[in-house]
């Protein structure tokens, strides 16, 4: 089963032009805020109307501007989980979930179905509570139960963990993984958190300015992001434009140093992940001055500027283990950038 979406929508000066397909898998839409990810989900769910395009779910046409088809959200069998869960504040947890049992059904059957859903989320004992009496995690479980009980053919998750405290996120992510596995159909996950995306998604679509910039398996996207946007969104902090010097060397403009590598056609920038820098000598070795040291809970980020680079060049961040750095603690260090660590980027 699959979801095909092609959505065009103008919003002031911003224009959304999304096109992608997803099978029975988790596809993450990874992008900065305001890039149109959430709007895409809302269009698929039918609570926003595209200007044109076509949305097909499991062979059923939900929206097709050319044929004048635009199903109501009630007819789409699309489960959309809102960023802040959108629990109905005037209803108890049980009543909220019963709203998912189609047309606000009230009978015995619906109640049993809703109770089973609460039970499977481990919140049966909260059935009589009101949403404002719940913790963030409990609110999310309620929203999940309510969505799942409506028997959707696709799940759309809009920044599912952004409203949670960080200590809750990991646990809810674990539960979400379970829910996704049991659901077994198409899941679209909107997020700007690369860790979350990597842990939950099979494939990743990088979204930039309302367009899919890159769509591939998560391994491929993270190993070879391809563009500056994708590189930054996958968490790479060191990015520099390049200019060719001669056949074998390029000049890294932001870092202010020449590098020995063959960039490949069209490549105009390089990415270098902070943990991929190696101490000692090797390919592209530089003696660097330590500009700053930032202590993280379990690592150090050491900001380096090669000695040969000008003073206004952008320092390069190097993430090292705490013990390794404590052993060095120098004002100058020698590091090298392995060729495989230099990500070739276009545009």
């Amino acid at each position: 089963m699959a979801l095909q979406a092609e959505i065009h929508k103008k919003l002031g000066r911003f224009s959304l032009d999304m096109a992608f397909e997803a099978e029975d898998e988790t596809l993450a839409l990874l992008g900065a805020s305001g890039c149109g990810k959430s709007m895409t989900l809302r269009c698929i769910a039918g609570v926003e109307k595209p200007d044109s395009g076509r949305i097909v779910l499991d062979g059923a046409v939900l929206y097709d501007s050319a044929r004048g088809i635009d199903l109501k959200p009630q007819q789409r069998r699309v489960g959309l989980m809102f960023q802040h869960y959108a629990l109905f504040p005037n209803m108890t947890v049980l009543q909220n979930v019963m709203c998912g049992t189609r047309r606000g059904g009230r009978g015995r059957v619906q109640k049993d179905k809703a109770m089973r859903a609460l039970d499977s989320m481990g919140i049966a004992d909260l059935a009589a509570r009101l949403p404002r009496q719940l913790s963030g995690g409990q609110q999310q479980r309620t929203a999940l139960a309510r969505m799942l009980v409506s028997d959707p053919a696709v799940l759309l998750l809009d920044e599912p963990f952004s409203a949670l405290d960080s200590h809750l996120r990991f646990r809810m992510e674990e539960e979400m993984r379970k829910v996704i596995r049991q659901f077994g159909k198409t899941v679209l996950l909107v997020s700007h958190d690369r860790d979350e995306v990597y842990r939950l998604a099979d494939r990743v679509a990088i979204v930039k300015d309302g367009r899919v910039d890159r769509l591939d398996t998560r391994a491929a996207v993270f190993a070879d992001p391809g563009s500056r946007t994708a590189c930054a969104l996958t968490g790479c902090k060191n990015i520099s434009s390049i200019r060719p010097l001669d056949g074998e060397r390029v000049f890294a403009v932001d870092w202010g140093v020449p590098l020995k590598l063959s960039p490949g056609p069209g490549v105009d920038a390089l990415g270098l992940r902070m943990h991929a820098i190696c101490p000692g000598e090797g390919e592209n070795t530089f003696r660097c001055r330590v500009c700053d040291v930032i202590e993280n809970p379990f690592s150090f980020t050491v900001m380096l500027r090669p000695l040969e680079a000008p003073d206004d060049s952008v320092p390069i961040g190097w993430e090292t283990e705490k013990d390794l750095w404590r052993g060095m603690m120098a004002e100058e260090v020698t590091v090298h950038f392995p060729d495989s660590a230099l990500l070739r980027l276009k545009g």
Partner: protein, 220 residues
């Protein structure tokens, strides 16, 4: 002490509040949803009675409803009905003056409603009617109630427009506020003071109810 003014004030305020409830809530609902340009113009027109002096409202009403004016003459001719100088004439004046209070408070409630709740209801398969009656209205209920109580409180205190359109006839059109003025004018200070106390007691009770409701709303 003749309690007619109390009874008359309460029924005028009660009837005009009921009328304004059914006019103000739908007006607020549709204007909250209206496109910006329409909203701006209608909002000014509907709020005008709030800032106009009540005597101006009274004057405009007399121009329409007076026995020799278009609407008043029509009713007099066809139904033998005088629209001014009866106890229920005051309902016209009061209704116009309290309408903006009802309308604005409700509009605020409708505008602060989280639209993602309605959108979410749709994706769950809930009908438009269910979303309106079981989700939107309950969420906006505290604001609608507050508007109703405020409108009622203001209606009890209406003087300017009422005295112009209904006048002061003891036992017929006298309300608390017109009675207080009349007693003061005729130097019956003791009785005027008693009516003032009655008025303060009612207003106090009404405002207490508003505050309690606001507190309940905050706890939601």
């Amino acid at each position: 002490m003749d309690l007619y003014p109390l009874w008359n004030s309460l029924r005028i305020a009660g009837i005009s509040t009921v009328i304004i409830f059914f006019a103000g809530v739908p007006a607020a609902y549709y204007i909250a949803k209206a496109p910006r340009a329409v909203k701006g113009i209608l909002d000014v027109i509907l709020t005008l009675p709030l800032v106009l002096p009540p005597t101006v409202v009274g004057y405009l009403l007399l121009r329409a409803l007076g026995p020799r004016r278009p609407v008043g003459a029509f009713f007099l001719e066809h139904f033998g009905l005088r629209l001014t100088m009866t106890w229920w004439s005051a309902v016209f004046a009061t209704a116009v003056v309290i309408f903006p209070l009802m309308y604005r408070t409700c509009r605020g409630a409708f505008e602060s409603f989280d639209e993602s709740l309605a959108a979410c209801g749709k994706t769950l398969g809930l009908s438009g009617a269910y979303i309106f009656w079981r989700i939107r209205m309950p969420c906006c209920r505290p604001g609608i109630l507050a508007g109703t109580v405020l409108a009622f409180a203001r209606a009890l205190g209406e003087y300017g427009a009422t005295s112009m359109i209904a006048g002061y006839t003891p036992g017929r059109t006298a309300t608390i506020s017109t009675t207080v003025y009349q007693l003061w004018r005729t130097n019956d200070d003791a009785l005027a003071f008693r009516w003032v106390m009655v008025n303060i007691a009612i207003s106090f009770a009404v405002l207490l109810v508003v505050n309690l409701m606001e507190k309940r709303e905050k706890r939601r």
